[in-house]
Symmetry: C2
Subunit: 345 residues, 2 copies
Amino acid sequence: MAVTLGDVARHAGVSLATASRALNGSARSVTEELSAKVRASADVLGYLPNAPAQALARSTGATVGVLLHDVADPYFGAIARGVGDAAAREGLLSMVTSTDGDPQRELQAIRMLHAQRVRAIILAGSAYNEASVVRQLDDALSAYQEQGGRVTAISDHGPWYDTVDVENRGGAASLTRELARLGHRRFAVITGPERMRVAEDRLAGVLDGLADFDLTLPETSLQRTEFTREGGRAAMARILDVTRASGAPRPTAVIALSDICAAGVLAELRERSISVPGEISVAGFDDIPLATDLAPALSTVRLPLGRMGADAVRLALAAPSREPDRVHAFAEVVLRASTAAPAED
Amino acid sequence: MAVTLGDVARHAGVSLATASRALNGSARSVTEELSAKVRASADVLGYLPNAPAQALARSTGATVGVLLHDVADPYFGAIARGVGDAAAREGLLSMVTSTDGDPQRELQAIRMLHAQRVRAIILAGSAYNEASVVRQLDDALSAYQEQGGRVTAISDHGPWYDTVDVENRGGAASLTRELARLGHRRFAVITGPERMRVAEDRLAGVLDGLADFDLTLPETSLQRTEFTREGGRAAMARILDVTRASGAPRPTAVIALSDICAAGVLAELRERSISVPGEISVAGFDDIPLATDLAPALSTVRLPLGRMGADAVRLALAAPSREPDRVHAFAEVVLRASTAAPAED
DNA sequence: GAGCCTGCGGAAAGCGCTTTCCATGCGCCG
DNA sequence: CGGCGCATGGAAAGCGCTTTCCGCAGGCTC
């Protein structure tokens, strides 16, 4: 039915081995003459290699796998794009799995990718803080690595993986300092769930920044929620309600540690007719493509999302070195219309 | 190195054939007793099937491929998510390729997916209008289908494919009528490149809607551009500049036939301090997740993006029928803050 | 109680490719 | 001018799985 290498070989009048060597690159060389003949035959017959067969014979496929929370989330979408492009440049296909940050689904995805004998697994979601979960995932990944698979992480997932180190903490600190410099003294922070390492890292960064100005974060001004628009919205609502109930003054700056959350924050404030940045300044994190189009344009911390994905692929495909490799992705504060100096009291 | 089915069979004291039948479902049945023994052994040894080997033996893999313009674009991201979820539910992995709407890259992607023996290829990008390009792609897809591959399209790519019919034309018409009903009489339209069928379909819909009110679209009020933020922005700028130069009155409503474009339009208007919807109403198309968070919240046409992706998978996996199957995805006009009745002249 | 059919386990033949391992022919050195 | 080594083509052995095809045993019918 399909044209096989055997057909090509016969058509070109050479052996199967020669055809294989001519078409699918190999250590061994074939004279240009034969090689050309084989290529011509392949062309005439419309030969298309059977990737599964190649994967079986070579015991490694032409694919990479990506684990992330949700491709439809602009943050992950941008990373997925970077990975896909870099992979394509190497002649590889990428398989993306959205796990919604559920460790069980992540575990299952690792198993499937392992079964597929993907050449590398890229961990693009957040690492977890819960030991038992980490253990399970690491075990599954170890099994994969022992069979020759490569694992690279975007943002720290443990020192034993090649990783693209994302400046989460430093970026959050810079952003916070920037806002403090504008004059803000009462902050509120909306971070992700405790179980996610990036959420904790970014939060730590904010605390660093505050500390530089001898500021602290009152407990009621720290909200944890999912990194989603609705999460951000609900968290903002809670902050507002609690401060009002307690009679405490409202924060003048709220930092949502993900742009998606920040979008929810803006929505809630708009609903309550609280002006941004007039009454409250709002900042996000990630600089997703549409951040600048929000109302008002969102101040945030830019991460080179596409590059991070591409770097992860590069690491995964580089010759394995003694020590895990690390490359750095630097954060950059981008101030736009959603932040301003606080109103005079 | 890796645990193979053979190892499992030996450990369980059964033949390779029995182990295969017990673990990886088959037409033939195995007594529950043996079956349990095999499963236990597989568990103990940590057996993970070798997907490429299975694909080779079964001559079809456990993957589906998706062709789209850009996963980082929210429109496609949402579709990709729908496809991924539906695939996962069937135990399949999905391979997404971003082609930036370049037919050559699309062609190459089809070949790679074909080589991978993916079970189905889902065409999620726009179909093209140029005959030679269409021909090439159709040829590659035919070759794939002849070898047992399934192809399904999201939005029309030709009557010979199973397709998720997206109500592009009807949706655009409804939106247009809605705006006309608000009192708008001078429209401008920003559509996609001529070579893309969805762009033409949506444009046709707008024209339908206008015709219902005996309205026409002056040539200078129709701009074609890429479906990107920058494209939208530039197009809006051109419209404004041209009408000003010609001394003609400004349109009171501009319809961008993709939300991403609309985001650019809003940016340009903001830059020029033209109030929306005060001076000009703006509407988009797709209802991407962040549409409601733009400034101002964008009126648009909602498409069930995730469902469309899932439906495409469902079609692809259904038993092939005599006639290509078609399911419909209905559009729904969503009016938000970016549109209003035009100001009195 | 003999003959058959049915149900199920096992042997073995591939699936399409890569890659050793030979075999052959050539160039080159002494 | 002979022999050695290198370069290169070909035969064949897998890679790990599915699936046909056998063969056996047990239960049924008459």
